[in-house]
Amino acid sequence: MRHRWDWSKEISGCGLAGLISRRGRKVSGEVPIRAIANLHDRGNGLGGGFAGYGIYPDYADHYALHTMYYSDQAQDLTEDLLRGHFSIAHSEFIPTRPTEGIGDAPNLWRYFATPRSTRSETEGEADTVMKTVMRVNDEIEGAYIFSSGKNMGAFKAVGFAEDIGRFYRLEEYEGYIWTAHGRFPTNTQAWWGGAHPFCLLDYSVVHNGEISSYGINRRYLEQFDYKCTLQTDTEVMVYLLDLLIRRHGLSIEMACEVLAPPFWKTIDRPDMDPEEAELLEALRITYAPATVNGPFAILFGHSRGLVGFNDRIKLRPMVAAEKDDMLFISSEEAAIHIMCESPDRVWTPQAGHPVIGWLDESVTS
């Protein structure tokens, strides 16, 4: 299926900002909007978006399917498919307000739904959701499910990020994790589906950089039934994380070792614990096609926390800060000071080493 936006890969530079309250204290969507507004010049008005966690407490046990439709027919086909496989507790327009700078919007709709039955004994609920997302995005022309996790949601569009936040009325939402993204795509064709975050199930990724290994990452994922329909390099990042963490059972730290593996000279160091070296070597050779190469800084949101993560030679900026139970991560320190006036600690994370903010178990259970 060819789309008018079916170029092979969208490349972009960007600004990132994110926060987490480890104790699960709710923060208004106003905060990430102001942070990303501070990074206005890192975007060029061709895309932006947000992801919030803990924003749907009333439907916390349902998958929140955020969907964009470019035609009524696309909506009809998608809803037929959803009704066939899901119990839909509630569906509605995603609330928006007319906003200067935000152009023609597709139909934005959200469904709070639960898979009715899985298709086989070995398939879990999450597999059904994943397959449904892949099927809609690949097979139904003009329909895209761009967010599909529980008690979380992504909001994205073409425009400047702060305008997008206002458009989606994010100040009316409260979450304990937020990520925000302002985009500077170097390809002038921009479309709503290609904006960040990229999401699958509870995983969301906002990304600054370009994935130079996109070609092999994508071919690798295709073997595991992931279809890269949004034609933007960041898409592979969220699918790789889903594959490694949910389907292959690796820890988040281990998944980060796969995406940005330690150099061989580190693994070979004589003071390296032999068992650790054996594990790292096995991860590198097994998951070689999952290595994400090229410049990146990402914020990776998930149901248990927030991860900030750089490529292994740090070709994109990333700064982190802490205050009490809060962790802030951004492309620039300036945006951190918008979110938090006087952080206890500000630091520049090391290349290839993730900064992880975990939610307390009381929040996730």
Binding site: S212, Y214, I216, L279, A282, L283, I285, T286, A288, G294
Partner: protein, 505 residues
């Protein structure tokens, strides 16, 4: 019926000696393996035609000898070219099969030359390999689909998955299989020494492992081919890996024949056959008439090596190569070695060499794609061979999906080969493909090993530059990344099979 012991077809080359500069040292006359020069009162073209191996020109202290194409004007005809006519005359005289050596010399399109590599500009930075780490280390062998981790008693994560044996090489370039017999012991030793120095692999071919090369067994792929020459327990167990040779790109479907006159005591001992007996490699393995038979041999070799060595399978690139490779991987092979139709040989029927098989670029793309579609790409590595001429070819092969490449002819050129394509005559003046002691002793492994190693080092440095320009710092990020290639002057069908876009797309 053979009508003449000597062909009436005139030679293609003639030596021109500048007698005013010649000091009559006769080095050229003594050096020529083909008896193509003689000395009367001065150096003259000799009894046999010159083959342009250039041993004389390269060793003349006065640089007073040149090799020219022999003028032999014929009425121009694009169909009945002089080369075509000569073949017919030779067969009219002999009634036999024409033999050739090296690889296909016909002007088929070399697809590598229609593929161009990408580089970074602005949106992602290129990487300077002189400043940043640039990783080429490669592991050949079966990989698990996923890694399982368990927590040890100390609370640290530990590897639970058992990893199959791997061949760890420092650069994704290995030497191709060339048997003792097809090449000399000095030539084989040069490659073995170079492989050991660089941290890569050489390949015994199907002629066994000579006792003088035991020290290089741990970096040798040892072949088990249809003649089973030199295959014994120690041969299998001391190796780096075992390779079942089904076919060769230069002569798919054709066996081998090392004439008895080449079977010296060294070769006879290594191959475990009587001195002077013809060494015939049958066209098929007579215990492999189907894919299930291949599976039995793969597992017999794994049993014999106690599952400690990877077992690979080498095949010629033929039309249905994707399905064949898929079957080979499902039969248990740890790597598949694809040899394209331009691959080299010590001797092959010319008609086979020039007309059978498919380009390795196409075969590689088809096999990589097929294994991915079948979900078994991780189960075996792919080695690509058959006219890899430069580091650019290496990079393009990796981008199409190869784990590593093997080089044969390029390696021989480092040993002195001038691609005169006379390997099958046994007269190689450079001592590479001859077994005559007076010729082979002039090849000094200590010098030639350095030159072979230098080539690998040079290509490795160039690969690092290419990766840096591509903005990636590990070779696995180029492997199979076909979006880093663009085609020019290729048909849509070629681009589709290669999985590559046209330049500008």
């Amino acid at each position: 019926m053979r009508l003449a012991t000597k062909s009436t077809v005139p030679g293609e080359f003639v030596q021109v000696v500048h007698h005013d500069r010649c000091i009559k040292c006769k080095r050229c006359v003594m050096g020529c393996g083909f008896n193509a020069l003689e000395f009367t009162d001065r150096v003259m073209p000799g009894e046999n035609p010159c083959v342009a191996c250039h041993f004389c020109t390269d060793h003349c202290p006065q640089q007073c000898i040149q090799i020219h194409e022999r003028p032999y004007a014929q009425a121009g005809h694009d169909v009945w070219s002089p080369a075509m006519q000569k073949r017919i005359v030779r067969q009219a005289e002999s009634g036999g099969v024409l033999l050739s050596a090296m690889g296909n010399d016909r002007p088929w399109t070399v697809l590598w030359d229609n593929l161009l590599l990408d580089a970074c500009q602005v949106t992602n930075p290129s990487i300077d390999p002189l400043r940043e780490p640039m990783e080429l280390r490669t592991y050949l062998g079966r990989k698990p689909e996923r890694i399982e981790v368990e927590t040890g008693p100390d609370g640290k994560p530990k590897l639970k998955t058992k990893i199959a044996p791997q061949l760890r090489i420092s650069t994704p370039i290995i030497f191709a299989g060339m048997s003792l017999g097809s090449i000399s012991l000095s030539a084989q030793k040069s490659l073995a020494m170079a492989a050991k120095k660089i941290g890569t692999l050489w390949n015994t071919g199907e002629g066994g492992l000579h006792e003088d090369l035991q020290d290089y067994a741990d970096c040798a792929i040892v072949q088990c081919a249809s003649g089973r020459f030199g295959v014994h327990e120690g041969y299998l167990r001391n190796s780096a890996a075992v390779e079942i040779k089904i076919g060769q790109g230069a002569k798919p479907g054709i066996g081998g024949h090392l004439p008895g006159r080449k079977v010296s005591s060294d070769i006879a001992g290594t191959r475990m056959i009587p001195i002077g007996s013809d060494a015939l490699s049958p066209a098929p393995h007579h215990d492999i008439y189907s894919i299930e038979d291949l599976r039995q041999l793969i597992y017999a070799l794994k049993e014999a090596t106690e599952y400690e060595k990877p077992v690979g399978v080498k095949i010629a690139a033929v039309h249905n190569v994707g399905a064949i490779a898929s079957g080979i991987v499902r039969a248990g092979a740890d790597y598949v070695y694809l040899d394209g139709f331009r691959g080299g040989t010590g001797a092959a029927p010319t008609v086979i060499r020039d007309n059978v098989g498919i380009p390795v670029e196409i075969a590689l793309a088809a096999v990589d794609e097929r294994l991915r579609k079948d979900g078994i790409r991780h189960e075996a590595s792919i080695i690509c061979a058959g006219s890899i001429r430069s580091s650019a070819d290496v990079a393009k092969a990796i981008a199409l999906g190869a784990d590593a490449v093997a080089i044969g002819t390029a390696a021989l050129i480092t040993l002195g080969c001038h691609v005169c394509q006379q390997c099958h005559t046994g007269n190689c003046s450079w001592g590479i493909t001859s077994q005559r002691p007076e010729l082979t002793r002039r090849l000094d492994p200590s010098v030639r090993a350095e030159m072979a190693a230098n080539l690998l080092e040079g290509w490795t440095e160039e690969l690092k530059e290419i990766l840096g320009a591509l903005g990636v710092n590990a070779v696995e990020s180029l492997r199979g990344s076909r979006d880093r290639l663009r085609g020019v002057n290729l048909t849509k069908e070629s681009l589709d099979v290669l999985g590559v876009k046209h330049a500008g797309e």
